[in-house]
Assembly symmetry: C2
Homo-oligomer: 117 residues x 2
DNA sequence: TCAAGTGTAGAGTGACCGCTAAACAGGAAA
DNA sequence: TTTCCTGTTTAGCGGTCACTCTACACTTGA
């Protein structure tokens, strides 16, 4: 469930420690300074750029979309989709909003079927 | 249809002139300097912030979502929706992508129905 | 005791974003 | 000709973003 209101930094620190990865090691893999990593994990700095969030997600084996959401970012591929079909996608998202998880899943299946045609 | 590849600035200039609104008047209504307006309309500056794009849309009587898309921005309410349901909405958008306009319309109706329940 | 590892504090930085002020050129109207 | 309009040029500016560097304190093990 990855909790509801947990901040980005707190989350990745917890997950990192759970996997027994050192802060310096993590920072190196992502390509940032340990200092920066430290501040991000304590939510003293805002989360890094999309590509870095994505590589964090990979290292921590968690959902990139979810992690990006925690980081307060919209995945750029989704942004592109919306920009290409602003009217349709805006309508879709706004009506989809507020639906139950089950209804959403049904809707995605529906979309998948249409795509198949 | 508002054309496919037209830039933001070119579009609003055309629409503004079609409505016989002066650049200075427009700038004033939006709350920016004429200088800025001029450069934006000639695509020398990037489009303004979301709220200003929205008020431009209102003045020019065109779809805010569409205009925001031209401005390269994702409407903030949509961004919020995605951030609140990243997994579901990402899946929905990605499968919805590539669907025909008709299929998308059907899908939105489908969503509307589910919402009604 | 000291060396090597952990994470942290404080300060600063370059690039970009969103926008402005002052000045000016060209045309229409008086 | 002067006086307004129109839009445009040049220069710049405060703020935020996404970071880094140096230095430090604490713990652990040899």
């Amino acid at each position: 469930m990855t909790s509801g209101k947990e901040k980005f930094g707190a989350f990745i620190r917890r997950e990192r420690e759970a996997r027994e990865i050192g802060l310096r090691e993590m920072a190196k893999k992502i390509g940032v300074s340990p200092t920066y990593m430290s501040k991000v994990e304590r939510d003293e700095f805002t989360p890094p750029t999309e590509d870095k969030v994505r590589s964090i997600a990979q290292i921590l084996e968690c959902d990139p979309d979810e992690l990006l959401a925690m980081a307060g970012r919209v995945p750029s591929d989704l942004a592109d989709i919306i920009k290409r079909h602003p009217v349709e996608m805006s309508a879709l998202l706004r009506t989809a909003n507020g639906l139950s998880a089950e209804d959403l899943a049904r809707l995605s299946r529906e979309a998948g079927k249409a795509k198949g045609n």
